[in-house]
């Protein structure tokens, strides 16, 4: 849909799993959900965060694919692996900084969120954004994004790698980009 953008606001997620269920309804990957619903810190909080494909401008998954199976369309959508080309090597699964691609070993095929390409190319919203009751997943025009105090951000810094994405996530207003260092998330022993 022209002029529409995808926004993820993890602070609005209520963990209802509607998006997971709706994604699995899709006829192109029936019964398999492409959405990751992450429990942030399950022992201490009920907070959850939905993770869809961020559709990078320079997609790492496609860069590392040895079979040339992942393509980024002119609309900026990074498509799921081409069935005829994917060799099931899991390079993309390991390389994606957001942890989006999923490997289906029984099919020897990687599948990932392609922003419901069958729907968005026919002027329909993605399944997950249609069903989300709390607007944690939104597919709207930028002017209609119901900003409260958040700021949509699409620049991520993973160590020295800077990733720009088509999908934006909502962050506090004083955060122009999201910096993540894998070392920060490695358990060092002192709980």
């Amino acid at each position: 849909m022209n002029g529409y953008e995808f926004y993820v606001d993890a602070s609005r997620c209520i963990g209802c799993q509607s998006c997971v269920g709706a994604c699995a309804e899709c006829g192109t990957h029936r019964g398999k959900s492409m959405i990751h619903l992450d429990f942030i810190d399950r022992r201490n909080t009920i907070a959850t965060a939905p993770m869809v494909c961020m559709h990078c401008e320079d997609p790492t998954c496609a860069e590392v694919c040895p079979a040339d199976a992942i393509k980024r369309g002119e609309d900026g959508v990074v498509r799921s692996a081409l069935k005829a080309r994917c060799i099931g090597c899991s390079n993309c699964v390991l390389a994606c900084p957001f942890g989006v691609p999923k490997m289906y070993v029984e099919q020897e095929l990687m599948m990932k969120c392609d922003m419901c390409y069958d729907r968005t190319s026919a002027d329909k919203r993605p399944m997950c954004a249609t069903v989300c009751p709390s607007q944690a997943l939104m597919y709207v025009k930028p002017a209609d994004a119901p900003h409260r105090r958040e700021r949509p951000v699409n620049v991520f810094r993973f160590g020295e790698q800077i990733v720009r994405t088509k999908v934006r996530i909502m962050l506090p207003p004083d955060t122009p980009e999201l910096t993540m260092d894998a070392a920060d998330y490695i358990w060092s022993g002192d709980v």
């Binding site: 320079d58 997609p59 496609a62 860069e63 040339d68 992942i70 393509k71 980024r72 369309g73 002119e74 498509r79």
Partner: protein, 161 residues
């Protein structure tokens, strides 16, 4: 270093299918050059082929075959089976034994006075090897015979393959 393969296997779907004018011209030139080389090869081969010579080989003596009888021999190479037929008192004819349809061996039928291929019921004239009936697409190649005294000598094939 990796830019060359990145151009050919671009992540962007649009660039992947995009053919530059230079690439297209290169393709045309190389294809034309390939065809030119192929034509030269065919020309050289046909020029060399023209000079092919056949050996002289004594096939039989006139006395050893009765009228309506045959003799099998190999000509011009040991892998090429041929059949010699004595049609009448002083008329002999020899042909390649390989049917021009699927290379089954033909035999001479004295009753019908024709060369018969038993595989698919192909029939050839014993007079000149032309096809009379059935699936064969071309006449049988004939062996040119030369008679010297009572010896029959094969001196060539018609048409020369």
């Amino acid at each position: 270093m990796s830019s060359l393969w990145k151009e050919d296997f671009s992540v962007q779907a649009g660039e992947d299918r995009y053919v530059q004018r230079r690439q297209f011209t290169k393709f045309l030139v190389l294809t034309s050059f390939g065809m030119f080389v192929g034509q030269c090869w065919i020309l050289a081969k046909s020029l060399l082929h023209r000079g092919r010579t056949f050996p002289s080989q004594v096939v039989a003596r006139t006395g050893e075959i009765p009228i309506g009888g045959v003799k099998l021999f190999r000509y011009p190479d040991p892998e090429d089976p041929c059949i010699l037929v004595r049609i009448s008192e002083d008329r002999f004819a020899a042909y390649s034994q390989k049917c021009t349809h699927l290379s089954c061996a033909v035999y001479y039928s004295a009753e019908s006075r024709r060369l018969v291929c038993p595989c698919h019921d192909g029939f050839f004239s014993v007079e000149d090897g032309s096809m009379l009936q059935g699936p064969p697409p071309r006449p049988l190649p004939a062996v040119i015979l030369d008679r010297r005294g009572d010896e029959l000598i094969a001196i060539g094939m018609e048409p020369a393959e």
